[in-house]
């Protein structure tokens, strides 16, 4: 059977039903997360908006719109053969880098919480090019590391260097913003992709060492801005610094801890309704789950992520296409480290950085990017059968 015939057959099979070829467990886990996320965003904003005389469903409505757009984008991602993505990858990557440059230009980029990460659009919308950059880096690196001459099965050091360059350029711009959380997530993904690509071990080990060293040097020499140092410092006195980092982290821990086994019940969390935790519909949304749904509810969220990631690993293992496997690996690492960074920060295991919780946090760019990532997983899955 010729390659072309096989491809056409896959194409036909796929066209026969729009859901055909979707991994049902992966899909169910993500749908469940989106549903829980919607409830949590509503719970986080409902009372606050109502008590200020605003539409209590303001965030709920926008969140549902974000999900709808995101699902359409995910669907779009699954319908294109991911192997065709290679052709568009340079364009996506280029757009991402341009976006990252724009945010740094005063007047075009808007600063939120000390980081210049957003481009303000008319109508109150904002986009975050760093989210787009994550996808372009994963696809770009996967492309370089999976294309190779027929006599070798493994990427050469030259391939690795090329792939690192693809990642390094956007990362430098993200460092300038600065958005250390995203840098951490991208770095973790880069190392994972290179490791799974079968690149020489020295590269994997070397990159890991550089990452650790980089982290230590950055925190000790002041490469990290004051705003970030402040975020890393611990809480001192609640009456003095009510907006400070320590306060937020402490409030987050108290809010989660006060939930106990079964929580206060959805919409009934006094910490949430009193808005003691800032950014609780975005970066700190897990506190809402902790307080209102308790250990059972918030534990369920972690288990849903675990199921999702396990399915994704199965996809990576099953596919025979190196490109698909690397894309899947990249997406897994991205999701996993972003989840760990976000929840870890909420629970006081990780320093405070502003990364949203995949599929749950309110926020368009993040929702679109993670759903596109989900689309990529489904895409690889659909085309790896038979």
């Amino acid at each position: 059977m010729s390659q072309i015939a096989a491809r056409q057959r896959l194409y036909r099979r796929h066209r026969s039903s729009i859901f055909h070829g979707f991994d049902p467990v992966l899909t169910a886990a993500v749908v469940a997360l989106l549903f829980i996320g919607t409830l949590l965003v509503y719970a986080a904003t409902r009372d606050w908006y109502a008590s200020n005389g605003l539409d209590p469903q303001y965030y709920l409505k926008r969140h549902v719109i974000n999900i709808t757009i995101g699902v359409l984008l995910a669907y779009g991602t699954t319908t294109i053969d991911y192997r065709l993505l290679r052709a568009y990858t340079p364009i996506v990557w280029g757009l991402g880098v341009i976006g990252l440059i724009i945010v740094l230009i005063p007047g075009l980029g808007s600063e939120v919480n000390g980081a210049k990460a957003w481009i303000a659009l008319p109508g109150g919308f904002q986009i975050q090019p760093a989210e787009l950059a994550k996808i372009s880096i994963i696809i770009g690196m996967s492309m370089i590391l999976s294309e190779r001459s027929h006599d070798r099965d493994e990427p050469t050091s030259r391939d690795v260097l090329q792939a690192l360059a693809v990642a390094a350029i956007p990362v430098i711009f993200i460092l300038i913003q600065p958005d250390m959380g995203t840098v951490f997530i991208i770095s973790a993904s880069v190392v994972t992709i290179i490791a799974v690509s079968g690149s020489p071990t020295k590269w994997v080990v070397g990159l890991l060492l550089i990452a650790v060293l980089g982290g230590v040097v950055a925190t000790n020499t002041g490469v990290i801005s004051d705003y970030q140092i402040k975020r890393l410092q611990t809480f001192v006195d609640p009456t003095v610094d009510t907006q400070g980092t320590g306060y937020q982290l402490r409030q987050a821990r108290i809010t989660v801890g006060s939930g106990g086994l079964i929580g206060t019940g959805l919409f009934n969390g006094p910490q949430t309704n009193g808005r003691f935790v800032p950014e609780q519909q975005t970066d700190f949304i897990f506190t809402v789950a902790g307080e209102e749904l308790g250990f059972l509810g918030s534990g369920l969220i972690v288990i849903l992520y675990l199921i999702m990631l396990m399915r994704a690993f199965a996809i990576a293992r099953r596919t025979s296409d190196p490109f698909g496997r690397l894309v899947t690996t990249g997406v897994i690492a991205w999701f996993a480290f972003q989840i760990f960074e976000n929840i870890g920060m909420t629970l006081g295991l990780m320093p405070m950085t502003g990364v949203p919780l995949p599929f749950i946090s309110y926020g368009g760019s993040s929702m679109f990017a993670t759903l596109i990532g989900f689309g990529l997983l489904q895409n690889v899955h659909a085309r790896s059968r038979g």
Binding site: S51, D153, E154, T192, A195, V196, S197, G198, T201, V204, D237, T239, T242, Q251, R253, I254, T255, V256, G257, S258, G259, G260, L261, P270, Q271, N273, G274, R275, F276, P278, G290, G294, F295, S298, G299, V302, I303, Y305, L306, L309, M310, F313, A316, R317, S320, P322, R325, T329, I332, A333, A336, F337, I339, F340, I343, G344, L347, G348, L349
Partner: protein, 696 residues
Amino acid sequence: MNQRSRLSLLVAQILIVSLLVALLGRLFYLQIAAGPIYRDAALSIQSRDVVAPANRGLIVDSSGVPLALNKVGLAITIDRIAIDKQPDKGVAVMQRLATLLKLKYKDVYTNTRLCGELPVGKRAGCWTGSRYQPIPITKEADPDIALQIVERPDQFPGVDAQPISIRSYPGLFDVNAAHVLGYVGPLTEDDLSKDTGKQYFRSESIGKAGLEIQYDSYLRGIPGIRTLIVDRKEAITRESQNTMPIAGDHLVTSLDIRLQSAAEQALADAVKRGRANGYTSDSGAAVVMDIRTGRILALASYPTYDPNAFEKGLTVQQASDLFSEKKAVPALNRALQGLYAPASTFKSVSVVAAAAAGYDLNASYICPSEVQVGTRAFQNFDSRDQGRMSLKKAIAVSCDTIWYQIAFDEWLRDGGLRPKSSPNDYFFKAAKAFHITEKVGIDLPSESKSRLADRDYKKSWFEQNKEFYCNYKTRATKAQLTPFLIQLAAENCVDGDKVRAGDAVNFSIGQGDTVVTPLKLTQMYAAIGNGGTIWQATIAKAIVKTDGTVIKTIEPNKLGTLTTAPSTLKFLQAALREVVVSGTGAGVFAGFPIQISGKTGTGQVFGRNPNGTQKDDTSWFASFAPSKNPRFAVVMMVGQGGFGASTSGVGVRHIYEAIFGVKGNTVVPGAAIYQNGKPPTTLPKISPATKPKEAP
């Protein structure tokens, strides 16, 4: 997929699963293991208690006349929530307010800050309550100024004037009684950290001294609590509980406001009299006790202070004056915290000792000008040789040498400097029978224990001081290196642990290391007067609820009985009567229509005043009356007051004049404080409006 890729994928999978399991573990710790702690923390973050203080119970005298009550003050308050919303955070308003009230802006600013908002060390004057209740800047504003504030809300947004309950000591009949009543003041961190601290709320005023602190748990009542649930911006979202305050219970005391006033006046006059006679007279105390119950009818201490100053807010000067040595430490209640050598008033104990030792109380003894005790001659008072006289007369004229001789003989009989294994120690035993080593048990804080300089005391004293006396020349200051003191130190080093002849002789006339509080001496004389019962001294009679229900009565408590023979006590009573008839008290009480029994005391004090002068004698007069079927014991002490009779004796006479309604040398009908001759036994009706009965 090659082997390395497969392995890398597996490693990545294991790593990622571990990370998520770590999250689950941490979640379990926070929510299940440490859940209760975080739930408490969340509760304290969300809720704010607003405390409405309860009306404090009244303190009344035995006829129901208020000694402490609550009056309505006009408080100027600042609403922190309101002024914080102003663009300048209320600075302009507070400045205007400071000018209007003639206060310093800095003080107004500090008064309205929560203590947590100010740096440690600069918290004096901070607000101990919550920011959700109006914070008082002054509690006694001029109504005109208050009106200006209320009428100009545009000038004073967030400022209000409202009536507030403040503790007041009305001082009816010019009574002060600060040392008995005490005072109230704002709760401090120290109060909170005490055992009782848990029941207090910040911003409460609590009892700080005297009866106010002793019976605080009754007087205070239960404050009302309004718990507000707030959000992060401190906006109130709802109210979770609202309990009304429950007024405190009233305290009925055995004091009589007229008698208290008379005792204070008599004491102040005695001090003046002492000074007029050239004595330093820096302090004093006067006590009147019902000898059938031990109840205190009046208790005064000099110098005193204004108990109302505390609610107004004490200035730094006022606060330091309270404990200033120069001002003779007005905070000290000398009736129960001052320790003085009892001097000749202690001869009553010596009579009991002599009787126990077998001396014939009805025999006559010689009263020479001096008695040779070992190598030293002990002089009679003023070195007078008074010849042979009865023991009764010896008490009346306060002969010392008779007691020197008896004490010295008994000391020798007990073995002298090499005491027998079980010495008779008649003198020490007599003092112990009067419970001199125990507290009088009065219901006021910080009573001092009187001290008996017996054999055990000497031993422990020597243990603590032998280092000093045995190295006197190197340890002592230059001023202390006089020949007399050096010799004394040498003696102390040799046999300082022993009761020496001099100690025994001094003890018999109430000099030396034995010291008592005026209250202890009152208790002792009450026992002589009542036939031997030692009563616990009490001030409170009952705790009464606002609706009149009696919730606790304080019954008289018998602490012990004198074991001496009734005949001895009879002799002693007669001797004490003789003091007033023909002895040292005769001049003072000449013509007094009521029979008084008592004893003068003039105690020598070793040491110098801060200004370098030699300390003057302690003036005592201890007494009970009427001599037949006595009811009252009255004791006055004036520190550095000079002679017992002329300073304190006259003071005691003034107190008896008030008790029995005596003007000049006649009893004015209806003027006696107790119409049927004894303090009331029933509880009075309590009302803040009760007025004392005026004497005709």
